[in-house]
């Protein structure tokens, strides 16, 4: 018991100190850590759909986009600049608070998720993958083209100047000083994301062991048998879509506030594939595995971006950082799957997991 508490304390201290250590090497590293945290949250959200319920969703990034664009629209000068009516309604401009943005985006993304879920409920496996992929592309194409006839999303140019997070009287973009020590904005975001991540992990664990979680896993293993056991498979699948999507939506809000700029480019199919790969590489349905997968795929390539400059000079520009990054991700996906088809750190198999402690 006592040991447990010290362990937790050590973790907490470590997580608080981590951004400050990273910051010694430059704010760019803290940024990488922030984005990694976002990816972990996204991967955990997708894990609900793919890992627990066994529904392969290749359009997950659409919900991320819904959250990000929703926030950017409601917290940037874009709408008031383009629509005089809205400008007249909100003379100070639209500045939605994060406290409102989170539940709103959660609802909006969950609704989108359920809407997508309804037509694809009957589909299995690969068909589902392709339809969700198509759905993601549809959302992206709309975001790319909705700058005319009325300018809603500003097209490929994206929406800039979204508000940073304001919380507890702290503006995250203008770092406060604490005991004469300036806390950089990226470190503030780091703590915010850590809190969100902990909440996400907690929800995921609680879901996993709940009645709902067990129903999802039953559906994943054998849908017909699950139905025979009295599980309402339709509602459960919709719930999985909605839940997974709502995580994506919240992450989107955070992304929008963190970057203060959103454009359709950030929500390409490649992103969806990356998130799916994180989940599958780490270990489907296993929370620690998913976290490891997300860290590996999100952070390592970013780190490589800094290491790769000499390499680029060596190969005469043929092998630059972006290409190297893609090459590594692609090879990792193939090799890990070949060697460990169930992921790097898979969930223990049911019935075989009981290790007796003497």
């Amino acid at each position: 018991m006592n040991k447990n508490i010290t362990k937790k304390l050590a973790w907490a201290v470590g997580l608080i100190v981590l951004p400050l250590i990273l910051q010694q090497f430059g704010n760019a590293w803290v940024r990488i850590a922030d984005l990694t945290l976002l990816y972990i949250m996204l991967a955990l959200g997708l894990n609900i759909v793919v890992g627990y319920a066994g529904l392969l969703d290749l359009g997950y990034v659409a919900f991320y986009a819904v959250g990000a664009f929703g926030y950017a629209l409601l917290a940037s000068p874009h709408l008031t600049e383009n629509f005089p009516a809205i400008a007249a309604m909100f003379p100070q401009g639209l500045h939605i608070s994060v406290w409102w943005a989170i539940p709103l985006s959660l609802l909006l993304a969950a609704c989108t998720g359920v809407l997508l879920g309804i037509p694809v409920l009957k589909l299995r496996g690969d068909y589902l993958a392709i339809v969700t992929l198509g759905f993601g592309e549809i959302i992206r194409i709309f975001m790319n083209n909705l700058d005319q006839p009325v300018n809603i999303t500003n097209g490929p140019k994206g929406i800039a100047n979204a508000d940073p997070v304001h919380m507890f009287g702290v503006n995250f973009a203008k770092p406060p000083t604490l005991f004469g020590f300036e806390i950089p904005s990226v470190a503030l975001y780091f703590s915010l994301f850590i809190v969100l991540l902990l909440v996400t992990v907690l929800i995921c664990y609680r879901l996993q062991d709940s009645r709902i979680g067990r129903a999802w896993m039953a559906i994943r293993e054998d849908e017909i048998a699950a139905k025979a056991m009295g599980i309402n498979t339709r509602n459960m699948k919709l719930l999985a879509f909605g839940m997974g999507a709502s995580f994506g939506g919240v992450c989107g809000v955070m992304f929008g506030a963190f970057q203060s700029f959103v454009s359709p480019e950030s929500f390409s199919l490649m992103e969806s594939i990356m998130i799916v790969s994180m989940v599958v590489l780490g270990g489907l349905g296993h929370i620690p595995g998913v976290i490891v997968g997300a860290i590996l795929l999100a952070a390592l390539p970013e780190v490589l971006r800094y290491v790769a400059v000499p390499l680029q000079e060596m190969t005469g520009g043929r092998l630059d950082a972006a290409i190297l990054r893609q090459l590594l991700i692609a090879s990792a996906m193939i090799i890990v799957m070949l060697l460990r088809p169930r992921g790097l750190w898979p969930a223990p198999e049911h019935g075989k997991s009981v290790i007796r402690k003497s």
Binding site: Y127, I130, E137, I273
Partner: protein, 309 residues
């Protein structure tokens, strides 16, 4: 009326290319129930290889006529693409035949990304113009125009499809393929070698993809390292549309999808009063896919199969 005829011609040309690509998807899916995500990349490799060959021939063998260059480059592209697809299967899919279903899908996506990156390294990530090799004077058909290239595309498609139908329906290999698709284990008991049949399927799929890739490049005039993605995706849609695993279905699905896209993008502006323009072309394929799968999940010509437990 002329516009409609023109869009029908465009749609048929587009659709026949989709059909060729869809055949590769549907054959592979029929036999090992895998979406070969790397199929579009094989198409891209075919197109880029042919571009390199044509470039070489134009500088070193400029006495050759355009059609000969196109033909030679297409043959080379087909051979290399077949080899490539053979190795893709050997490396990325063969070991995963009995693992969880998501695993080969992930390696397929990884393979697709890998090939794109390799293409970027070999050919640099730029858009390259594909030279004009055939006479560009359009032919008039009842008020609509069709280029020589488009006629060639239709011709090659018909020939390839006929060859495929013959291969699958009347040859020993075709029978082995159908048997393996039905049940690999029983087929193996009857003396069919599943590994050989699967490899043969990938080789044939690679050839078809390369043909489609060269024609795509010649028709649209550009080649680049991500050119395989959208045709691949849409061809998969076409395969699902027609009923995946079903060869005539892939052809029908491809042609219909091509027609829907061409006619849809031609008229969407008028229908919606200019609100939606032709930049929404790509949406049609996905909307068709979603509608088809909702109303008839097994596709137009697919059989209704019971859920496998």
């Amino acid at each position: 009326m002329d516009i409609l005829l023109q869009q029908i011609i465009n749609g048929l040309v587009l659709g026949s290319m989709y059909a060729l690509i869809a055949l590769g998807y549907t054959m592979v899916y029929g036999i090992i129930q895998l979406i070969n995500f790397a199929h579009g990349e094989v198409l891209m490799f075919g197109a880029l290889i042919s571009w390199s060959c044509v470039g070489y021939m134009q500088t070193n063998m400029s006495y050759l006529p355009g059609w000969a260059m196109l033909l030679i480059s297409m043959v080379i592209a087909c051979i290399l693409a077949a080899v490539l697809n053979y190795w893709i299967e050997k490396i990325a899919y063969q070991r995963l035949r009995n693992s969880p279903r998501l695993a080969p899908l992930i390696t397929a996506i990884g393979m697709s990304l890998f090939l794109q990156t390799v293409a970027m390294m070999i050919w640099k990530p730029t858009y390259k113009p594909y030279p004009v090799l055939l006479p560009v004077e359009p032919h008039l058909i009842g008020g609509a125009v069709i280029t020589t290239m488009q006629i060639l595309i239709l011709g090659i498609t018909v020939v390839s499809l006929a060859a495929m139908v013959y291969l699958v329906s009347y040859t020993r290999l075709g029978r082995a393929m159908r048997a393996t698709a039905e049940s690999p284990n029983v087929a193996a008991l009857m003396g069919v070698k599943p590994d050989f049949v699967i490899s043969a399927t990938f080789v044939i799929g690679g050839v078809l993809a390369a043909i489609a890739g060269v024609m795509w490049a010649a028709n649209y005039g550009t080649v680049f390292h991500t050119m395989g993605f959208l045709p691949g995706l849409k061809a998969f849609t076409a395969a699902v549309f027609g009923g995946i695993g079903n060869l005539p279905g892939a052809v029908v699905g491809g042609l219909l999808l091509g027609l829907i896209e061409a006619i849809g993008s031609g008229y969407i502006g008028d229908l919606t009063g200019g609100v939606l323009g032709s930049q929404y072309t790509d949406i049609f394929a996905f909307i068709v896919l979603i509608i088809i799968l909702t109303l008839r999940p097994s596709g137009l010509l697919g059989e209704r199969v019971a859920d496998r437990a």
